[in-house]
Symmetry: C2
Subunit: 164 residues, 2 copies
Amino acid sequence: MGIDQLDGRIIVLLAEEPRIGVLEMSRRLGVARGTAQARLDRLQSNGVIRGFGPQVDPAALGYPVTAFATLEIRQGQGTDVRAHLATVPEVLELHTTTGSGDMLCRLVARSNADLQRVIDRVVGFDGIVRAATAIVMENPVPLRVIPLVRQAAEDPEGTTTWPT
Amino acid sequence: MGIDQLDGRIIVLLAEEPRIGVLEMSRRLGVARGTAQARLDRLQSNGVIRGFGPQVDPAALGYPVTAFATLEIRQGQGTDVRAHLATVPEVLELHTTTGSGDMLCRLVARSNADLQRVIDRVVGFDGIVRAATAIVMENPVPLRVIPLVRQAAEDPEGTTTWPT
DNA sequence: GTACCACTGAACAAGCTGCCCAGCAGAAAC
DNA sequence: GTTTCTGCTGGGCAGCTTGTTCAGTGGTAC
C-alpha cells in the first residue's frame, strides 16, 4: 500500500493523456520501457488503478439532473434495499453511512419532473421508511483524484499531514 | 443528445475491456473499422465519453476512509468556500445543493482519526457555519454508469420510462 | 559472498493506428 | 424524379507500438 513518486507521475501522466502508450510514457518519464510497463502492471494488480473504463457523462446521455438521497431503512431490511436499488439504472452509487439516515445514494434523472419518477421508484419499496433528497445545482469540484495522488506520492506514510 | 444502440454497445464494450483497440472493437461489433472509429470520435466530441483516465482507488492509495459532509455556508461566502475546498486534496468532489445544507462534499482520509484532521481543515474557514459528516461504512453500489447507458441506448427519448 | 530484486538497453515478429481512396445505400432537399 | 448529403463498407499502405525475450548492472538482505 502506498505509491512512490514514479508511480505518482505515471498516474498523473495517464490522467492528462489517457491515450498515451507505454513507450511514449517511458520516454516522458525518462525510464526504460520495461520499467514503465512493470510499474503500470503493478499499479493495476495492486488495485491502485482499477481500470481505464470510459468516463461517461450522464448529462450528455440525456440525464442532466443529479440528486443525492438520504434513505432511512427499516431495521433488518438493509440487504433487500441494496438489492432493490441495484436494479434501478438511475442509481449511480449507493453507500451505507453512519449519522442521520442509513444510506446515501446518487441519482440522475432526465428532468426535475422525471426525478419524481426516479424517487418514486427508489422509495417504492417496503424497507425504505423515509427519503430526503437534495438536488445538485452546481458541481464546483467534479470527482477528482489527482491532488490526492500527488499527496500520496510525496508522502506515502502520511507523516507530514498529521497535526504537529 | 442521446445515443443509439451501436453507441451503447461501444460504451459497454469499452467498459468491459478498456484496453481493446478500435480494430478489435469493430470486429466484435460487426462493423467496419471506420465506423467504429467515427462513432468513438463522435462520442468523445459529444462529451458523452469524457475520457479514459485511470480509475484510482483511494483506499489502495492509503485513504480507506470515505465520508460525506454536508456544509452550511454563510450567505455570500459561496465563492470563497468553493475555492478553499478545491485546495484540499482529500476533497474528492463538491456539489452545491438544495435542501438542508448548502453544499455536499466527498472526503477521504487515512483513518478515522485522520478524518478529524481533514474535517478540521475543511471547516477551518470563515465562510463555513456548520458541517454534518456521515462516514461511509459500505459501498454496495460503486459508481456505475453502464445500466444507465443501456437504458439510454434502448430508449434515447425516455418515452418508455415515464409513468403510464 | 550470494541470492534476489528492480532497472536498463536492445532485439524481433506481429499487430494496430492513422490515413487515404472508391463505392454504395438511404434520406432529405430541390 | 433528380441531386446532394451523410453514414457505412472494404481495401491498401507506411509507420509505429506492443508483447516478449535476453543479457548486464547496481543495490540490498541474509
